[in-house]
């Protein structure tokens, strides 16, 4: 049994470190298909990162160590947060009680490091980007806790295991569906905001004035830029895997290898969904982004209400 756990943990780590490159490649490929263009190679992000690692970073004279440390904090927090999320549709190696709270603040730590680095440059653009990021993430934060709280309450679990339990057995009927649907919608929007995807942010734009996340990495170069790019790809993958775990029909019904494969496949399908959304809609006006985030809050609220209804009915 412990051997199986060790294998699963190893597989978890391998997937966590390779899947992000594929996810980004799949999104690019999807967009290229919709646009009628030829896509870059599937592993373009890896090639980019390898190229950047060979370069010497350039620093502005006004920046301090905050600016240099930020990218690595982003990378490390992304990897660490990935260790506790059930990427493979099974309990993650490092799962522990109330790990979703820890998860939220590890992401928060990465965000703060990035924002401080941006402010450190003293650039008006980066300040605007940091201010937008702070505003949006402050509105967004309750969504994750509402979803986590709802799932834990209804399954009597206290960690990301709740996701698996919700999927596997315990909850059925209207309340279960409410929790499930609300959580999936809320988390999908959360991933779009956190990973700076359309319609919230445009990862491919060159227009500094419209950027949120991208503008904060404008001044980074070389290995630090690589760390930021890979870090956000990992965050994106971790987020999508969490949504996939909610959707995975094989959780608890099939053996771990099959459930894991299904989860990875679902994650890639979600990447296609992200790419499709980016191909078919334009970006929201900045003013409308908080309204879009409120949709995530409402969805998460629905999940919580469904939970209380279920518990009230049972008790």
């Amino acid at each position: 049994m412990s051997a199986q756990i060790a294998v699963l943990a190893l597989a978890h780590l391998v997937v966590l470190l390779t899947l992000p490159f594929v996810v980004v490649g799949v999104i690019q490929r999807t967009k290229a298909l919709w646009a009628g263009r030829k896509s870059p190679p599937l592993f373009q992000l890896a090639f980019d990162a390898a190229r950047l690692l060979r370069k010497r970073p350039v620093y502005s004279e006004v920046t301090t160590y905050l600016f240099r440390v930020g990218p690595y904090v982003v990378l490390v927090t992304a990897v660490v947060s990935g260790m506790i999320v059930p990427i493979l549709g099974a309990r993650a190696a490092l799962g522990f009680p109330f790990d979703f709270v820890w998860f939220a603040y590890v992401w928060g730590l990465g965000r703060v490091a990035l924002m401080l680095g941006a402010l450190d440059t003293g650039s008006a653009f980066e300040g605007m980007g940091a201010s937008r990021e702070a505003t949006f993430s402050a509105i967004l934060e309750p969504a994750l806790f509402l979803v986590g709280g709802a799932a834990c309450l209804i399954t009597h679990e206290r960690s990301f295991d709740a996701v698996l339990a919700l999927r596997a057995t315990t909850v059925t009927g209207g309340a279960g569906a409410g929790v499930w649907a609300g959580s999936v919608v809320a988390l999908f929007i959360l991933v779009q905001v956190e990973s700076a995807r359309l319609p919230v942010d445009d990862p491919t734009t060159h227009l500094e004035l419209t950027m949120v996340h991208e503008v904060m990495i404008l001044d980074h170069s070389g290995p630090e830029l690589a760390a930021l790019q890979v870090g956000s790809a990992i965050k994106l993958t971790v987020g999508l895997s969490l949504v996939a775990a909610f959707l995975n029909p094989l959780t608890g019904r099939a053996g771990p290898p099959l459930a894991a494969a299904a989860n990875v496949a679902l994650c890639l399908l979600l990447a296609v969904a992200i790419g499709t959304v980016e191909s078919l809609v334009a970006r929201w006006r900045m003013r409308a982004v908080p309204q879009y985030i409120v949709v995530a809050l409402i969805a998460a609220g629905v999940a919580l209400l469904a939970t209380t209804w279920q518990i009230g009915g049972a008790g």
Binding site: L280, A282, W284
Partner: protein, 512 residues
């Protein structure tokens, strides 16, 4: 006095220069204001050095060209002492602001009481003056400034923008240009006036045809005198087709950029792809995707064959047009019906009709705000034979400026199809170089062409010996930049890029 207007698709006016009696400065000022008050529209106002009455004082001949509602051009001039100058008219007619600033900058004319006497392009003073640009400042704890440029992300021309913002809202935008100043006007005077076409084509590379047509029409008017016929209808038609192809290509480029700026992938890629079809059609017609070499005074570099062969046949041209019409129908519907595109563009960067009139906007930017002037509507020649219906949109926002482009592309495609219905055959023709025509002495020619961005104005004047005395070039961008600055007020700063793209102005056209 000869009236050449009517013989050419260009709004043109050629006169004996000495027959236009310069008015006394006060009388000229009153005359111009009266004309503008009675419904005439300012086309240009510029100065040139004039022989001084007494030594030591610099005299400047100031020429104002206005257009009456029926399209006729009228000229009114005054000679003034630069140091004494005159009292600014900008306070009465805002549209004159850029001309008076330019007059002050180029000729040192004192323009007393001008409310915004800032440099247009730093003709003199160079870098030191540029770095000391007197930016308007707004004070207050909550106000912050964002400086963008002069070097921008993406491959575009340089220009500095400074935003004074309250949070995400722009209170004031100041646009500071001049980084592309090349000294075009003095350069044009240095060479043989009849051989300037290659130079004129590069004044603003995206409006080569518009500027070159204005130049060619002016030179043709100057060499033809009163008695000779202007260029034949065949050359006229070829020029018209090239101008409309330039319009189609640049409007497609604008739509592609606008779609990219709002993150609408399908629009960005499809409009961008179709632009290639449009510029490749220009290439097949004249050998250059940007229409270089297509127009020459008294001649033409455009080739269109009746049958398929080595050159470009009518059938192939029709095929390209059909492809554009067909694909545009699909992508236009996709772009216009996308809710998110509407959400981004509607209401952003709004300029009312009153504002557009006051600022003297020209071209599609003006028509998107409900104004209806389009020089093609006045043109004779090929535009009389195949009339253009002027399109205008009332709302004045980015959405209107995008729709304007879509509608104009459709009209231009239909217009070219109309010209092709006559089954034309065009052969390249150069004006005879054996005995080049002399310029007629003592003439002032004003030619105005409606390019894709608006009216390109060229004013040429010859002296008593028939040499070129002055060459004034005006790109529509000069007048429209302030429109952009006013349009973004009270908008979100993140909407500036789409406002900017919806105007799509030229830096080098302004900077000359």
């Amino acid at each position: 006095m000869s009236a050449l207007a009517g013989a050419c698709s260009v709004t043109l006016d050629a006169r004996v220069a000495s027959a236009i009696v310069p008015l006394d400065v006060r009388a000229w000022r009153a005359d111009l204001l009266a004309r503008l008050a009675s419904g005439a529209r300012i086309v240009t106002l510029y100065g040139r050095p004039a022989p001084s009455a007494h030594a030591g004082a610099a005299a400047v001949m100031v020429t104002a060209v206005v257009q009456l509602t029926d399209g006729r051009l009228e000229v009114t001039r005054a000679v003034m002492d630069a140091a004494r100058g005159y009292h600014a008219m900008t306070a009465d007619v805002t549209a004159l602001h850029c001309f008076e600033r330019e007059l002050h900058e180029q000729h040192g004319v004192r323009v007393a009481g001008h409310p915004w006497l800032k440099p247009i392009r730093f003709e003199a003073g160079g870098r030191a003056a540029r770095d000391a640009y007197p930016f308007y400042a707004i004070e207050g704890k909550e106000v912050h400034e964002v400086a963008v440029g002069p070097i921008h992300a993406g491959v575009i021309e340089p220009g500095a923008f400074r935003f004074m913002c309250l949070g995400e809202i722009v209170h004031h935008l100041e646009i500071h240009l001049g980084y592309q100043h090349r000294g075009v006007e003095p350069l044009l005077l240095r060479r043989d006036a009849r051989k300037l076409a290659p130079l004129v084509e590069t004044i603003a590379g995206d409006s080569s045809i518009a500027h070159t047509w204005a130049y060619c029409a002016a030179i043709e008017a100057l060499t033809a005198g009163d008695e000779r016929a202007p260029v034949g209808p065949e050359i006229e038609a070829a020029r018209g087709v090239m101008l409309e192809l330039e319009r189609i290509a640049m409007h497609l480029a604008g739509l592609s950029g606008l779609a990219a700026d709002v993150g609408f992938l399908q629009g960005a890629s499809s409009y961008g792809r179709l632009r290639t079809t449009a510029i490749n059609t220009s290439m097949r017609l004249c050998g250059s995707r940007f229409g270089r070499g297509a127009l020459r005074p008294g001649g033409s570099g455009v080739r269109l064959d009746a049958e398929a062969g080595a050159g470009f046949s009518r059938a192939e041209l029709r095929q390209n047009l059909a492809l554009l019409v067909n694909d545009l129908a699909i992508i236009d519907d996709c772009f216009l019906s996308a809710r998110t595109v509407q959400h981004r563009l509607k209401g952003a960067g709004r300029l009312t009709t009153a504002q557009a009139t006051e600022l003297g906007l020209v071209g599609p930017a003006a028509r998107a705000s409900g104004l209806t002037h389009d020089q093609r509507a006045f043109g004779a020649g090929v535009y009389a034979e195949h009339p253009v219906t002027v399109v205008s949109e009332p709302s004045g926002d980015c959405w209107a400026r995008a729709r304007m482009r879509i509608v104009e592309i459709g009209r231009s495609l239909a217009w070219i199809a109309g010209v092709l219905d006559g089954d034309p055959v065009w052969t390249p023709r150069r004006a005879s170089t054996a005995a080049p025509l002399e310029l007629v002495a003592d003439r002032l020619v004003v030619s105005v062409v409606e390019g894709w961005r608006g009216e390109a104005v060229h004013c040429l004047e010859t002296d008593a010996a028939g040499a070129l005395l002055h060459y004034k070039v005006q790109d529509p961008s000069l007048r429209n930049w302030l429109g952009l600055a006013i349009a973004v007020r009270e908008n979100e700063i993140s909407d500036f890029p789409i406002c900017n793209k919806s105007f799509d102005l030229s830096y080098c056209g302004n900077d000359l």
